[in-house]
Symmetry: D2
Subunit: 324 residues, 4 copies
């Protein structure tokens, strides 16, 4: 393993730069050459490579986004695209790569690995925390803090006016961000795809909340939740059936993906980058780096893709108790 490449792929998340830095510096430490691939698999196909040394990644550990850019790439889904990518890698003398991204990025990597027996290691970078084989994905902790900070601000104005807010947060098909941020922000109700609360029980809960003397309410809604058609219809439904409430909606949107990574995500990224390079050097392949029980571990990418993370039942119960 003389030359390792690193790329980011799919949606960006805070901590990706810290992981890039870690891969690059670990290569330098191990005396292995390192190449950056720009714009994900698209850049791989186009040979958009740049040699990196330890100083190339100065002052990026605290930056959101990814300095290598990211992109979704249709061409890499075709055999022709992957063939070109392989040619580019071979031509550049690259003998393995680390891909930082999510599900889709790993699927591409593992197909590529099978076709060309090319060593690949994945690092899970997404704010959604929806990847099997790791307790935390890179960016999840930062996104939680961003969401909670935003809801704290919304709470100020909600309390001042005795209002009910529906706050929609990211998370694709899963409710990890919603559940954790909801508990952390003291939300009165949390709507996640994994639980079908139903509109009737939502109304019931809001009625009870009003009775217990709460002067304002925050309902955190995962973007994948199906209780209402969407958060705006939820608002209309509640206003119709509970006219006592003055309801507002806030969709937090893409700010959840950015910002300087939290201390937790920076440490996690640094640890994962070391493990990824060590695995490649040790001749391992087709694995994803994860953190389980605070140990950095490796899981077959195939399992990571197939498996599903589960919502934390204990935390759902904690949430129920807290909203009394």
């Amino acid at each position: 393993m003389h030359k390792i490449a690193v790329l980011t792929s799919g949606g960006d998340s805070p901590g990706m730069n810290a992981a890039i830095r870690s891969v690059v510096r670990t290569c330098a430490y191990m005396n292995v050459e390192c190449m950056a691939i720009y714009r994900g698999y698209q850049g791989m196909i186009e040979g958009d490579f740049v040699a990196m040394n330890a100083r190339s990644v100065n002052n990026i550990i605290n930056k959101g986004g990814t300095i290598l850019k990211s992109a979704r790439c249709e061409d890499f889904k075709t055999p022709e695209g992957r063939k070109k990518a392989h040619e580019q890698l071979v031509q550049a003398g690259i003998s393995g790569f680390v891909v930082i991204g999510g599900d889709g990025s790993f699927t591409g990597a593992t197909i590529f690995n099978k076709e060309y027996d090319f060593p690949v290691i994945g690092i899970p970078g997404t704010i959604d925390n929806d990847i099997f084989g790791t307790r935390y994905t890179l960016g999840f902790d930062t996104a939680l803090n961003t969401v909670v900070d935003a809801i704290d601000k919304i709470r100020d104005t909600a309390s001042s006016h005795n209002r009910l807010f529906f706050v929609e947060v990211m998370g694709r098909d899963v409710g990890h961000i919603a559940l954790n941020a909801g508990v952390a922000a003291g939300a009165e109700e949390i709507l996640i795809p994994e639980e079908n609360l139903g509109l009737d029980r939502l109304l019931e809960s809001l009625r009870r909340s009003k009775k217990t003397g709460k002067s304002s309410s925050i309902v955190v809604v995962a973007e994948g939740d199906k209780t209402g058609k969407n958060v705006f219809e939820l608002k209309e439904y509640v206003e119709e059936h509970l006219p006592i409430y003055d309801v507002r909606v806030s969709v937090l949107g893409h700010m959840q993906r950015g910002g300087p990574p939290s201390a937790f995500d920076r440490v996690l990224a640094s640890r994962m980058g070391v493990k990824a390079v060590e695995a490649l050097i040790a001749g391992k392949t087709n694995l994803m780096v994860g953190i389980i029980d605070n140990e950095i571990v490796l899981t077959p990418i195939a399992e990571a893709i197939k498996g599903h993370t589960k919502i934390d039942r204990e935390l759902v119960r904690v949430s129920d108790i807290m909203t009394i």
Copy 2:
């Protein structure tokens, strides 16, 4: 002037608590009694009063929202409502009040003043900075920082994907937040109600922006802007006419109203509260406290209501130059 009341009215803004604290402590310092009126004019009508002393406002200078709650009040728009309010004030021995709020709140105050010759002083509390007679309204600086921080985060993800973002910010009919936040966040284009850029010129600008090698773009849109019907239609229009762009929308929403006030807003609130109480004690009435040329000054409320703030032409020009 033996007893002064203080209330917050209309939409809340960061710094209101700091202003309440200042009014209460200035009363204590001047040996004047102070009463808090809860829930704005509604609480005035209902006699929802609580006596305050210097310690009642401990640890609130850094809190967003308003501990006195706020509300819009239809009853105060009727002579009957104002009659009841007057009776409550008289009964409680209150001989003047300070109202912290915006246009609507001041209109109510000045009508009340005329009908009952009751001393009133206004403090402009709104994030929109749309009040004549003051260079800065309470909360404007904090809201700017909140907006700019959010756009910084969006920029991270925009840069990583070479995307165009339309970011809608608050400001009611005026573009002060959009213009200032747009310049501060390095927006490529700023759409404000005071300027009719038009869709064609927007496209032109975006085309030019792409040509100059910018890899991502942020367009800040004031909620009152009329360039498109709304920010979502802007997105569709641009995607149709400039398919080169991958466009996203983010509506920042109510988080802009909350959060701990900035240093600037806390100092401003402290200064304004002192001036308001001093004015009442000096027998003045029907005036609004403002800051002009860094001096705390008084303007007749009638003028504050009638006048219009103007967009800063120099800053529009600075924005044009910066986006080259």
Copy 3:
């Protein structure tokens, strides 16, 4: 178990209020009365108790410090003091308490438990992460983010002037804050009590750092580190032996203890509070709540006091690699 009390003791940490809230609300949920004890064991001895209900803890989940106040208490170290405390608890009908604090607080609790067979459960609240039986103490994650944010700021000015900074961080006898914050902030060197780097190796490392082209350097120093007598002597030593460096010192101090708790600490506090109350109701005693492998678990307080946390060797290695 009809009535449970809760107190905070020793140094405060972010997340204590979230834990108080959780204890109070879990009691309400379980139909158990809850009493707050103010000012730690001192308040216990003086009977400074206040009944709490679910609404008593509104809007505190995001506040640093502790609304119950804390204090170190000499009287509780004496049999007489504990006797008084026991009388107060019995008189108030309290049949068990949850103490949120560190080592010293737990020692007091366990002695009290032995003398009076009084049910006690501990929740580890300290930023130092130095308590055995839990992977994370309450407040550690928040403190890390505070420290890293401060070092990010210092880095700005260090880079602008090519300076070397020694930044002293808290942590008592252990280096957990220093090690984690150092990795997260990209420190060039980290000095912790668990490793004896020695002055010579520090100079060596700084010389190498300069040679590799780094334009500025941050050295994070744990307050318990013994490499130099203190951080100011370190500065003098380095300036004398490496005059090439322009050295500055920053002692971060007590700001590390405050601020709104991070999302992680708020979730952790909520989970721990539930477990603590459940344990008391289930008749358990003399246990500390902790989090291990992401499960909320119970450890005998005796073990928690005796045991020692170890520095994470893998993270020390990651740090070495990152600073190449």
Copy 4:
């Protein structure tokens, strides 16, 4: 004026990068070439110049520090040094420069201007706000927010333990940061060089503060204050004479200089940069850009150097009232 140079000099401050960006982009907009000079006057003497275009300053508006680096330069204080600098400028075809810095930097610029009749314009960049001819220096607003945020955190722990904190803040010989941050953070006492409170009156004030029922106290101390020899001696003095207080000290240090600039500082920097370039193009010289009454104005550098800013008496009075 075909080619303009820009440099940063002296201590760095947040907003310097935003000002560099503004100078560079205004040059591009005006079709004037722009050169960056690295490391202040030292780089000028050494000819450390780099050509800049509009894209060279992408994504720096939100970065603390200065991408051009800064340095204090002894050589520029000598005629020989300035001669070399002039030769370098002439050789590079530079016909005027904008220097962003403080007092010392302006002194150098104006001497250089006299000797070589070389056009210079200054932009006041320092957190201390100690420059005559401008109401606000670049970085002052950001530093205030940083200080106030830190004191908010210290307040959390002060309140939890009923402690007294002396918090030392920057500001060189003047008390602007201390006074404004003290008011904004709700400090119980503010010690500034412009006022000689004296140790006796400090004790008196602290005694009164305790009597009024305040549970904790923050005293903000300007680094230039002379009430005690330093903040640590203040602590000892108070502990000796007021043993009722448990006193702690916090010296905020260099973190006050860094961090992303506030919205205010970014807008100010953008406006000042435009004005500076316009002035050079218009043939003006030896002037400093400032903001007075919200207008961007020009003041002779000679006056800026000689003049002294005054402490705001009204704000001192507001502070007195607030601490009742």
